[in-house]
Amino acid sequence: MASEVLLPSSPAEAVELFGDGAGTTVIGGGTVVVPEMTYGRLHPKRVLLLTRAGLAGITVEGDTITVGATTPVDALLELEDRVPALAACARNVADYEIRGQATVGGNLCGHGDLQGCLLALDATARSAGRDGERSEPLEEFLADRSGRLLLDVSFRQPAASAFVVLDYPHTHEYTVLAVTGARTADGETRLAAGGVAGPGARLRSDEALASDPDAAGAAAASDVTFADDALASAWYRGQTLPVLVRRVLNQLEESA
């Protein structure tokens, strides 16, 4: 049992109490951390509970969308009209009740179903830690987020977006494989995969081939290392990724 539980009531207080993060376990919605404690795999000494830290909420300013770290995953469904891919990606996470409790930040820093989608949206992560506050591409934040407290992610509304997932007939499995595509107003196409080994990954060689979905699909495997686990073998993911890439590019074309 934790000796110390901190309940900040503002973002500034959360940042101050987090400090450099050393020895601190952060709880957003609790859906990942609480079972770890229940099963005795985690005995946190110092817990930062973000429930009342004022880090939840979605704001839209012009074409920039900012999502607070403790915004429940479910709230992303409100962005259905603006960013259909993100709403579809959120809907694929767990079930209604978990989506209402799990947070965007917890998902990004944990099992990561939302990582690929937000990478394709070229999101910026704003975080706090030892060196103060900083904003950086989500890709860099995910590569090394130790000692950082995620505050929010922001991105520009794309002209079109599409999300295709390898569906699994079980509510609670983590994303086996998913591809998100986003197209900007000036025609740039970004692609990213989730459910690969490690954090979600941008599919840069596919992006260069975005005008040719078949070629892009064939090139897909060179950008990622595939997880090889109980949900799907690396071989299966490798066979499937080109199909998902092709479908996403075709959907982007249709919605253009």
Binding site: M1, A2, V5, L7, I27, G29, G30, T31, V34, P35, M37, T38, Y39, V47, L49, T51, A94, D95, Y96, E97, I98, G100, Q101, T171, H172
Partner: protein, 170 residues
């Protein structure tokens, strides 16, 4: 910390990271929420927190300090069952009963937010709930009936069998 559980105010003595499930069961003696998987995967512990269905096993009690919590004990009584309880009874939607509390709370929340009797929508709403007796068809029937506002004859099941053990209770 304080909770209002089924309309009754309670001061909570458990530690702040104690799960809401353990607070309900062990401190307050409210045992309808079940400790199933205790990792959010089965739905047996679902209760309604400030109007939303939540897995009590995943919820540190400090995160819901001051909240209003409803469990099956707050739905109705054996003499005056709530419509969702009548629906589960009439449609014989419980076998071993272990998942039933969570199923009913998720169903109640679904109906409270205006859910219809559409089987697909009910499956989506109850998608995080596992029934290892695999009695899903009758559960979905029961939730649909309650969502429609059906009236229930509790002396007989939907399939026509007489329910003697519930005779006179309605």
């Amino acid at each position: 910390m304080n909770l209002t559980v089924n309309g009754v105010d309670a001061t909570i003595e458990s530690g702040p990271l104690t799960s809401l499930l353990d607070v309900l069961r062990d401190e307050l003696g409210i045992t309808s929420p079940k400790a199933g998987c205790e990792q959010g995967g089965c739905g047996a512990c679902t209760v309604i927190v400030d109007g939303e269905p939540r897995r009590s096993c995943l919820t540190p009690v400090a995160a819901v300090d001051g909240a209003s919590v409803t469990t099956v004990e707050g739905l109705g009584t054996p003499e005056h069952m709530a419509p969702i309880q009548q629906a589960f009874t009439h449609h014989y939607a419980a076998q071993c009963g272990f998942c039933t509390s969570g199923m009913m709370m998720a169903a109640q929340a679904y109906i409270d937010r205006g859910g219809s009797d559409d089987p697909g929508a009910i499956q989506e709403a109850l998608g995080g709930h596992v029934c290892r007796c695999t009695g899903y068809v009758k559960i979905i029937d029961a939730v649909g009936a309650a969502a429609r506002g059906d009236s229930f004859d509790l002396t007989v099941t939907a399939a026509g069998a007489t329910m003697t053990n519930l005779g006179g209770v309605a």
